[in-house]
C-alpha cells in the first residue's frame, strides 16, 4: 500500500460547557490540527448548535459533526443543519453517519435495530440529494465497525472506523478496500490518550471510553478478536442500566490496547507510520484526548514538533576551574 498524507483531528464529546468546547477548538486550530469532530449522543449537547459556536470562533479548521445517527435525527433535520451551517460559516463541515452507541440508543427508547445499515444508507442518499439540491458539497463519512456496515461504506465518501490496533484496522480495511472507490478515504476515530506526562484521571477516562466502544461492537468483531467470552458480565451490567463508570471494572484492560490510541508522545510517530502504510488518511484522536488544553497540546507536539536530534548539549562543571564549558554528548 502506498503511503498517504494523513489529516489529524481531535474529537470532542459535547458535554462540557459550550465555552469550554469552543476554547479547546480554538486551541486545536492554533496548534495546526486539521479538524475537530463534535460528537453527538443523546446525553450530550446538541451537536449542530455546538458546531455553530465553534465555527463562529475559528477561521479555517474543518469541523466534523458526528457520529450522527439517523435513528435519532431525520435526514431532513441533518441536511437542514448542514445547509444552515455552511451558509453561515462556509464550506468547513463534514458529517459522519452511523447507527450510534447501542446502550445510549436503548436509554432513549431506540432498541429495534434490525436492518439498521439499510436505514443508514437510505438516510445518506436522502441527505446527499438534499445537500446537492442546495449546492452544498459536504463530505459524508460512515461510522462503521461490523462487517455489514463496513461493506455498506462503499456508498459513502469515506469510512471512520472505531478501531485503533493495526491488526483490527487491517481486518476492517480488507473488508472495505475491494469495494471502495478510488477517491474513498479511510479514517479511524478512536478513544485516545497521547501523553507526555501520564495522568491517572485521563487514563481512567480512556478505559471508560474504550469500554464503551468494545461493549458496543458487533458480535462478529468481538468473536474475531477473542473478546466475546470476556465481556458478558460487563454487558449484563450495562443492560441492567448501570452507569458505565461502574461497568468498566468488568472490562479487561486489553480492551484499551485494541480499541484506543494509548501511547507516550515519543512513540506516536511509529504508530502513525504503520497506519499510513495501511492506507489510513484521517485520524481522529477521540475522548479523552480533549481532556484539557494541555492534553491537546501534548498531542500537537507529538504530531508536529521536529523530532529531537540525538545530538544533546549539556553544561558541565569540570576540573578545579569554576569556568563552565560546553560539552557535546552523543546520546546514541
Amino acid at each position: 500500500m502506498e503511503k498517504v498524507d494523513i489529516d489529524f483531528a481531535v474529537g470532542l464529546n459535547a458535554y462540557e460547557t459550550v465555552k469550554e468546547i469552543v476554547g479547546k477548538c480554538v486551541e486545536a486550530e492554533n496548534l495546526g490540527l486539521d479538524y475537530v469532530w463534535i460528537g453527538d449522543s443523546p446525553p450530550h449537547l446538541y451537536c449542530p448548535s455546538v458546531a455553530a459556536a465553534v465555527a463562529s470562533r475559528t477561521k479555517k479548521i474543518r469541523i466534523g459533526l458526528g457520529l450522527l445517527s439517523p435513528l435519532l435525527h431525520t435526514p431532513d433535520q441533518i441536511s437542514g443543519s448542514i445547509i444552515s451551517l455552511t451558509e453561515a460559516y462556509g464550506d468547513r463541515f463534514e458529517i459522519c453517519l452511523g447507527v450510534g452507541d447501542r446502550s445510549q440508543l436503548s436509554r432513549v427508547g431506540v432498541d429495534k435495530l434490525a436492518k439498521v445499515w439499510d436505514h443508514v444508507l437510505k438516510a445518506k442518499r436522502k441527505i446527499a440529494r438534499s445537500l446537492r439540491a442546495s449546492g452544498v458539497a459536504t463530505k459524508i463519512w460512515l461510522g462503521a465497525q461490523g462487517p455489514k456496515m463496513l461493506a455498506a461504506s462503499k456508498d459513502f465518501d469515506g469510512v471512520l472506523m472505531n478501531y485503533a490496533s493495526p491488526s483490527m484496522i487491517k481486518w476492517a480495511l480488507d473488508k472495505v478496500k475491494p469495494v471502495a472507490r478510488k477517491d474513498f478515504d479511510f479514517g479511524i476515530y478512536a478513544p485516545s490518550y497521547v501523553y507526555r506526562k501520564w495522568r491517572h484521571q485521563a487514563y481512567r477516562l480512556l478505559r471508560i471510553a474504550s469500554a464503551v466502544v468494545a461493549l458496543g461492537a458487533p458480535g462478529a468483531v468481538l468473536d474475531e478478536f477473542g473478546f466475546s467470552k470476556r465481556l458478558p458480565r460487563a454487558m449484563e451490567e450495562l443492560k441492567a442500566g448501570r452507569r458505565i463508570e461502574s461497568v468498566v471494572r468488568h472490562v479487561p484492560s486489553e480492551v484499551v490496547d485494541n480499541f484506543s490510541i494509548y501511547t507516550p508522545s515519543s512513540r506516536l510517530r511509529s504508530y502513525l507510520t504503520e497506519l499510513g502504510d495501511l492506507g489510513v488518511s484521517h485520524i481522529v484522536f477521540g475522548f479523552p484526548q480533549n481532556f484539557s488544553k494541555m492534553t491537546i497540546r501534548d498531542l500537537a507536539r507529538a504530531l508536529f514538533e521536529p523530532k529531537p536530534s540525538s545530538h544533546r548539549l549539556t553544561f558541565s562543571k569540570a576540573g578545579p576551574s569554576s569556568h563552565c564549558f560546553l560539552r557535546m554528548v552523543l546520546s546514541g
Binding site: 464529546n13 449522543s41 450530550h44 449537547l45 431525520t74 431532513d76 436503548s106 427508547g109
Partner: protein
Amino acid sequence: MGRGRLRLGLDAALPNPLMRDATTLLRRIWRGETVTFTSDRFRLSNYYPRYKPSFATPIYFGARDPKLLALAGEIADGVILSGPKRYIERAVAIVDQGLRRRKRRRRSFRFVVWVPTAIIDKKSDLKLAREEVATVLADTPKAVLAMAGIAQEWVKPIKAVMAERGVRGASRIVAEDLLRDVAVYGSPEEVALDLRFLENYGIDETVFGPPYGREPVKAIGEMVQAWKRLT
C-alpha cells in the same frame, strides 16, 4: 407542533399527553435526574444528561387548540398565541382556566402574542399583509376559526385558491374584515397603538411578526421608534 412536522416525518397524534410528558421530562432532564419513563411516545431507560445545565429554561407552548391552551396554563411557563384578535381574547381566558388549576398560582407566567404586522406607506403595500393573512387562514384549525367567530365558508375559498394558484392568488380574495381581524397594519403609530391595545387582553409581550413592510429593515426601525414614543 405545526405542519412542518409532517415534512420531517413526525406524527403528533394526541398532542396533549405528548406535550405534558415532554414538558415534565425536559424539566427532569435539565435538573440532572436519571430518568426512566414509558408512554406511547417516549421511552427513557436510565437516561441522564452528561452536561450540567446551570439554568432553568422557561418552556412556552405555541398552542392554538383549546385543550392545549388550558394545558399551557396548567403546566407551562408561558404561551405564544397567534390568530385573529377575537380568538386571542378568548384564548387568554382559556389559558387562565388552566392557570387556576395549578396548585400554586404562577405569577411569572407570560402571555405572548405573535401578530402579522405591516407598516403601510401606500394602499398597494397592503398586498403584503393580504398574502400573510391568506397563509395564516389557510392553516388555521376549525376550532380557532369558531372561537374567532369566522365562518368556515369565508375561509374555504381562500384554502381552495391557495391549493390551486398559491399564496398570491389566495391573497386577492382575502376580505377587508378578515384582514383587519388577523393582521395589524397601518402607519407606525397606528400599528404601535394596535399592538399596545393587546395589553387589555392580558398580553405581556407582542412579537412584531412578518411581513413588516415593503422595506422590512426600514419598517422595523420605524416601528421601534413609534413604540418608544408610545411608551
